[in-house]
Symmetry: D2
Subunit: 347 residues, 4 copies
């Protein structure tokens, strides 16, 4: 039995983790903490869980709760998270962290983009970037896994086969992405109110979004050279779902779509959650909403010798909550797909 | 292993059944038929199922496919369905029918409201109305289960405790309900196009919706007298979900909300999928979307001595697909809740 | 030239008033106040108005701004509003108030339902309920018009012809209504965030919504007896629009739908903004969204001898902002329809 | 009085034209044709127009109707449109055509992308591309105006200042755009049904959308060299609105954002419908929905020496219907902004 605690559990990521694990018999969520809802049953916060997960939310007092679980998922704001993670690790717990605090190999990059001093610099070297498709082996034994951001997961998985196989130039990559509103988290914020969001589409964080350096770090790693990208996120009027449209310059003018497609299929042939769509098909967020899948379609614009990749996932699924569960499965040494081979909702 | 065939499988009800059963190891969907998509993989029709359920859609040739399964779920238009059901039954199969063809004890009522001659009158006496909360025992051994309509399920379960306990008058019951758009099925119809439906709310079938006599039949059964109701369905701009607001006149002026609430809790105390909310709480469709639950809240308007019940379910869940699976579990003699204790999506 | 000031102008009602008046050459909005946005251009708050209405939001300092206009529209919370209205009236201004403060003839009813002491009791006798279809003559000369609530406007106009002509019983009227989210105003409130509201439908304020006594006051006036109603509002996942489904018991069993329809047409024959739909047609919110129209459809359920009326309006249109402009036109002695015969948006 | 006929009037573009012109006293819509709704009042097709525009839809019999108007707007499928336009022109009428038939200078490009033989090649040389910001003078006297596509309008206006001033390279321009669903027109098509569209985001027409050559034609004209672009449209779950995010390589590494911003402001300083947002602000579709405005925001990514432009319009506004009215005003020699300085809806 995997004993799991969730710290900062009442945000949307926490709720999705609880939802997904509710059907598992081999994982027990033994403790959930919440600053806003301490003392309230979790199912009062999310009534969809009434009768299914009624555990009471506890205070985030690590000394008092750490003994209840062996694994902890932390879903806290950056800056805050590192301190709690530190406490948990020092008590011998294994931690999956949802914040940005441990995603960066270079603390300076983190500090520059997040405008804070890193509160636990020493720990970053122990952290594994929790993308199983790239770091499965390291995740297995990690005591600290930094769960990737949703945009980075969507982007990196769409780019990795082409870039690591040197099919495309590492220069000039453009990632144009759109996310559902749940990516902003559960909060009272006019910008994310129904009337300001429905029937609206906008770009945000143009040339300045914090997921940029995270994507660059991993692409640089894959290509062996320093990669600088253009990344523009957009907000779409839907609850869940993320789609990235990625533009890359092909190195070789003779490359055919089918060849590149074969490279993508080969790259992910053993990956249970990456689906390369047939030539001519492109993903839609409804194919993956509510699931741990990432769907990828590719196209070649021969007129410009450009590779265009479209990748889609659920920002609350492979983009955060279920990706964390995938990593948890790996850490716990059980079948990585346990409880996760569930189709999305479509309707 | 339960072997199941789905006839008319590519509508939304069929897709939801496939989605829910995808995680089950004790049920195998051995055959899916589709008029529009014969020869195509199911996962091409619903790409969310790629890699999960890729079986090819077959023609609806009962002679050729009947041997593949012991249980069949039929999701066909009324009138058409009865003939196919007849064929399946004559081959000894057990059938769960989603059409209206076998929901009525009195064939004349069916013929009056559906404006067709019933194509298999003799079978109606064998059919069991598939609402487990009322007919669990009969479903167990039935060879033909008529899966209830979504509005009837939502309404009857909201009214049953009060009416069968004579707390309210059988006269003058008003059911005002709203449904998500998936209730209209998967079809190319301008009325259900995005631009005609989004940001819009409307009543339809005012005083004439075909679910009226189905509700009346069951309420009459419960009360022992002939019940005539007002039922007004509405279309809400959402994919899933149904909510009924029900007005009933209390028989006794002294009855307190808490007493009625206790009656409701008692009535459903052994029901795994009916959740009576605490006094003062009312259901929302997001509490139940994607699940087999029906949530019920009650209120007493003392000024008018009226009981107001609000009940909510997912029209594709307890309103059709997962309710059919619940009945299938009962028919197959396994745990009724198998694969169904899953929370809704909330977000 | 009508000189108009808007107090509390940056909520959705204010924004809609500005939007509608932007095209008028005979009305000048000379001052807009805003607590949250003092010193900012209005078009920074609502960038849709950039280049069209860029006036700077001022502080709500009545002494300093009163001289700028002859008419004032106040869009402030109840309780707060009355004091400001009092100041404006004492300076000889004519006021259209959007709060509930002056809608009640009986201050006690107001105090009971709104749980506050009325801050300007003496003024209530001077206030006219701003529903032109019922009080056009009084509005003309009023110095204080209390703009009706959205639900009351939708309900009263749907009921008035039947009730005032004694076609229906004053007892047992049920109003089941749904509103778009903009009815809740512009605010940072988790309950109205996109992720909590989209794909969701719920009842709220069951048996306790504050628009109940307002509707009852006017229906009592129309019928000459004390009317007590059941009113249940619902929240639909759309920005604008309101639809009420109203159930009334017919007094006379012989009444035909066509006769009642004729009564409705006659009642509103001179009304420019009430459209009685042909027999068999029912309104949808998209017919009226963005306009000052209220559309009404009627049905008779012969089995129950019940009249069912469906009425629809835009909660920001005839339900508040454009209704206020209609009243303003009347007060100013100009054509009541000036600037208001504009179709809704449909798409 | 401008007498206007609308051919193929019951699509969404036609409906929007009728809606906008409903308030005009100087334009009379004298005839509307519709294949599907011949003989029906227009307000039965769009009940929002009841009492405002009730004219009966006529057959598209040009001989019989041509005399009724001096100007005609045609909203017909490509291929079909050219023939009707030909007939109208031969009767001396002035025509605004919404199809792609007359947008191309080079008939071969049209035939290659639209896969049809052009039915009226001779007329193309008379046609003026109806983008007032670029071709105002030619529109004035044109007898045939080809109304631009929505994506081209949004893209070209976003690119023109930079490209024509040689600030950016003509090579490698990428346009990533999203549209609301009304862009697909009013039709019964499963792909645009509510349940397939809501809560979904997808790319479509990747590397193959027919608006590509239209954009390239105009950009080539502006730059004086042959421009080849990457253009990827997306479908967002909203009714109206379009937003393009455009990536261009700056020619000069020293250029500051403020300098480029000044170039944009200068370029459009006399344009009533192009709003260059302040530095740091970016457009959202809700700023322009329901209006004839296009809003443009710009950013410089210094790390990559790239200009990123975000432009937004209403696909039914500046993207089609109201842009046609702007051109009509120009053709008729009246104030170009007549009836069009109306803010969008925002909420």
């Amino acid at each position: 039995m995997i004993k799991l605690g969730i710290i900062g559990s009442t945000g949307y990521v926490g709720a999705e983790i609880v939802r997904i694990l509710a059907a598992r018999k081999d994982v027990e969520i033994t403790v959930v903490t919440s600053e806003s809802f301490t003392g309230k049953p979790y199912s009062e916060v999310y009534p969809s869980l009434r009768g299914i997960f009624d555990k009471t939310c506890e205070e985030m007092d690590i000394d008092r709760i750490a003994h209840k679980a062996d694994y902890f998922i932390t879903a806290l704001p950056h800056g805050v998270s590192a301190k709690i993670v530190n406490q948990l690790l020092s008590k011998g717990k294994r931690v999956l962290d949802h914040s940005a605090d441990f995603r960066f190999r270079d603390v300076k990059v983190y500090e520059e983009w997040y405008k804070v001093e890193h509160p636990a610099k020493d720990l970053t070297k122990d952290a594994v970037y929790g993308l199983p498709e790239l770091y499965r082996d390291k995740i297995k034994d990690a005591r600290l896994v930094a769960n990737p951001g949703c945009y980075p997961t969507c982007s990196i998985l769409g780019i990795a086969p082409a870039l690591s196989n040197k099919l495309v130039s590492a220069k000039g990559i453009i990632i144009n992405a759109a996310s559902g509103v749940s990516g902003a988290g559960r909060k009272s914020d006019l910008s994310y109110s129904f009337c300001e969001t429905a029937e609206n589409f906008k770009a945000y964080g143009v040339s300045s979004h914090r997921h940029t350096p995270e994507i660059e770090q991993e692409l640089s790693q894959l290509s062996g050279e320093e990669v600088v990208i253009s990344f523009t996120p957009h907000l779409a009027p839907m609850k869940r779902g993320m789609l990235a449209t990625i533009y890359m310059d092909l190195n070789d003018t003779g490359l055919q779509l089918e060849e590149i497609h074969a490279v993508y299929r080969e790259f992910y042939k053993n990956e249970p959650f990456v689906r390369i769509l047939p030539v001519g098909k492109f993903p839609e967020t409804k194919f993956v909403a509510g699931s741990n899948f990432v769907d990828i379609g590719i196209s070649v614009d021969k007129r410009l010798n450009r590779l265009i990749v479209v990748s889609a996932l659920d920002n609350l699924g492979k983009g955060s909550a279920s990706q964390a569960i995938q990593a948890l499965n790996i850490m716990a040494g059980i079948d990585e797909t346990e409880g996760l081979i569930r189709p999305g909702l479509y309707i």
